[in-house]
């Protein structure tokens, strides 16, 4: 029964993708599906996609789970990594060392930020929305203080730039990384003990407690993982914009949540599929690119996303009823 519901959401999303793509070709011609635009759209997906995966993880854990600090932590990771390396490693002399250390430091910052969120939510027992709102301001504040509020330019660092912008075998590298991470996450959630316990915890915390699932440790690990995902987004942003700044993507917080909810992740916890998040992210990206191709106002885009979200929610409601009915 559950499988049927999941498949429904999945096929709905897949068909939406196809529909948008078809509509795009009909409306704007074949330019929309030439290799360049497909690559361009694919390389725009990871920033938001990674943040949406973080939101999904937080939502899965139940307890009103959400991570609002994602983009702030992503920016902070980039800022710290750049500031540490600016005076220690020359990007011109050792671009490869620079790139890998950049990624390493960013990930470490993401891990630290995730741990902080994890402690606040699991051990201090704060409501996730409050805790991560607090850390969002905290991370942003540090990034502003460190940079005086101005953008830091990385300049042209070949390996980093390639990662953000150059396709390998036709696939943009950052998109490939995103898919790889999503795949790993999907496998962990589906098959590992951790994944199963997380979904159980999310769907019924009380039952999970009596079943001996270590709630605190689960929450701690989940929010830590969110932090790491955010820092990967930070690396992608740095690679794609060749700069780091505290307020980049300030509109991403809500869009990441939109992607997760559109993917059928249950805000109350317990259910969500990685593949659906990917399809939801690509659908939004194609729709947004389509609007840009057609010179449609960006205000209309916000409106269209809202309509789409309501449509998805309505659809899932209908599905849910059909699913529950036969059981009674």
């Amino acid at each position: 029964m559950k499988g049927a519901l999941a498949d429904r959401q999945l096929s709905f999303l897949a068909l939406t993708n196809v529909a948008v793509l078809l509509a795009a070709v009909l409306l704007t011609g074949s330019g929309f599906i030439d290799l360049y635009n497909l690559q361009s759209m694919a390389s725009q997906v990871p920033e938001l996609g990674l943040l949406a995966l973080g939101v999904m993880l937080a939502m899965l854990s139940g307890n009103g789970g959400i991570d609002l600090s994602g983009i702030a932590l992503a920016n902070l990771s980039g800022v710290v990594a750049y500031l540490v390396l600016r005076d220690t490693v020359s990007a011109d002399d050792a671009p490869l060392v620079f790139t890998w250390s950049f990624a390493g430091i960013a990930l470490a910052v993401g891990l630290a930020g995730g741990v902080l969120n994890g402690i606040l939510v699991s051990h201090a027992g704060l409501t996730p929305i409050i805790a991560t709102l607090g850390t969002q301001l905290f991370f942003t504040g540090i990034a502003v203080a460190l940079t005086n509020g101005s953008a830091q330019t990385l300049g042209y660092v070949e390996p980093l730039d390639d990662f953000g912008n150059t396709p390998v075998l036709g696939v943009p590298q950052c998109f490939a990384l995103f898919i790889l991470i999503a795949l790993l996450l999907g496998i962990v959630l589906r098959f590992s003990g951790f994944g199963i316990r997380l979904r159980l915890l999310g769907s019924n915390p009380k039952a999970a407690h009596y079943a001996g699932i270590p709630r605190r440790r689960m929450l701690f690990l989940t929010y830590t993982a969110c932090g790491v995902l955010a820092s990967v987004a930070g690396i992608v942003i740095a690679a794609r914009t060749s700069s780091v700044k505290w307020d980049y993507g300030s509109s991403y917080v809500l869009i990441a949540i939109l992607i997760a909810v559109m993917a059928g992740v249950r805000p109350e916890g317990g259910y969500g599929r990685v593949i659906c998040v990917i399809l939801s992210a690509t659908a939004l990206q194609m729709l947004s690119s389509l609007f840009n191709f057609m010179d449609i106002s960006n205000f209309f885009r916000d409106f269209a996303w809202g309509v789409l979200l309501l449509l998805f929610l309505a659809a899932s409601q209908i599905d849910l009823r059909a699913w529950i009915a036969p059981r009674h």
Partner: protein, 333 residues
């Protein structure tokens, strides 16, 4: 509702939206102007210039787009899509120039002509258009301040933040000009308002307490004069102080009326929009961007052209507009 019906509805909705917006097949080269954010008075005014250029020149199609939120990420995505769409030229007012280097390089590789405005540190642009030289602009404020203050007395300057390059240039340009007048004394210069009228107000109040005999204020960010004006008005010093700075006519109007702010200067975004499209059109047609040329718009009759930080050049006009109580109403932004 079955999946099929839903899908059909969905596709139909998208198609309908598309039809309504009517993607006209444009055969003539398209120049797309990308602004920081849609819906702000400043950029609405710029849109008039963009449309005007399109009307005057039927051989190109001009349009203006911008993100719904002032976010460098959103602007970057918009440009990314325009590059994929392969429009002929893009004219950009960057939210954050350094975040756009990558995508603009890709644009150049695809043969798209890029011109910019307010981004003289950007490398991947063919021509960056500046309304005026920032040092000169600062000196002009100071000249007016000096005239109003009778060339003597204490004065101070404001900046949005010390990180805002242009604001600092204006403050420095003013300070340098003031050296001509030995009686004028600059006190606690470059106060940061962080682009917040309240901060500017509090800073100005502090300064009025500290220097009760202060006579002049030079604003930096467009809202500085509003904050300063409010502080001056509360202190009842409208007639004893002189306040000049960058400002927008609509926002500053009440303070100009009361005399708390004596005069503001700005550049007209309509002209900037027109000139950006003019230059983009020239680049498309392969015309040379020459020092001293006349672009046919007030303030851009004799532009100076110098080398930019990258391959491109920087074009500078003298397109400042000064208004006071008597004529600010002419500008609807």
């Amino acid at each position: 509702m079955s999946i099929k019906t839903k899908l059909v509805t969905c596709a139909a909705a998208v198609a309908l939206v598309g039809a309504a917006a009517s993607a006209m097949a444009q055969d003539k080269p398209a120049i797309v102007t990308v602004v920081k954010v849609t819906g702000e008075n400043w950029f609405t005014r710029m849109n008039e210039g963009v449309d005007a250029y399109g009307k005057d020149h039927a051989d190109v199609a001009t349009s203006q787009v911008g993100p719904a939120k002032a976010d460098a990420a959103q602007q970057g995505r918009l440009i990314e899509d325009l590059v994929a769409k392969k429009v002929a030229a893009i004219a950009i007012v960057p939210m954050d120039p350094s975040a756009l280097e990558g995508v603009l390089k890709r644009a150049a590789n695809r043969g798209i002509k890029v011109v910019t405005h307010e981004a003289d540190n950007l490398k991947n642009t063919l021509v960056d258009i500046e309304a005026f030289d920032n040092k000169e602009f600062g000196a002009r404020f100071n000249e007016k301040l000096a005239a109003c203050m009778g060339k003597s007395g204490k004065w101070t300057s404001f900046v949005g933040s010390l990180g805002s390059l242009t604001h600092v240039q204006w403050a420095d340009g003013g300070a340098e000009n003031a050296k001509k007048y030995p009686e004028m004394e600059l006190v606690s210069e470059k106060n940061e308002s962080f682009n917040d009228a309240n901060r500017a107000y509090e800073k100005a109040r502090e300064i009025l307490r500290k220097y009760p005999d202060i006579k002049g204020f030079q604003g930096g960010s467009a809202i500085d004069v509003i904050g300063i004006g409010r502080a001056v008005e509360e202190a009842g010093l409208q007639d004893k102080t002189c306040v000049f700075g960058l400002g927008l006519p609509k926002d500053t109007g009440p303070y100009l009326e009361s005399g708390a702010v004596d005069g503001i200067s700005f550049w007209d975004p309509k002209d900037a929009g027109y000139v950006m499209n003019r230059v983009a059109d020239m680049v498309l047609k392969g015309e040379e961007i020459k020092d001293g040329m006349d672009l046919g718009v007030a303030g851009y009759e004799k532009v100076s052209v110098k080398k930019g930080p990258g391959e491109g050049s920087i074009l500078v006009g003298q397109a400042w507009v000064d208004v006071d109580k008597s004529n600010y109403g002419k500008y609807p932004f």
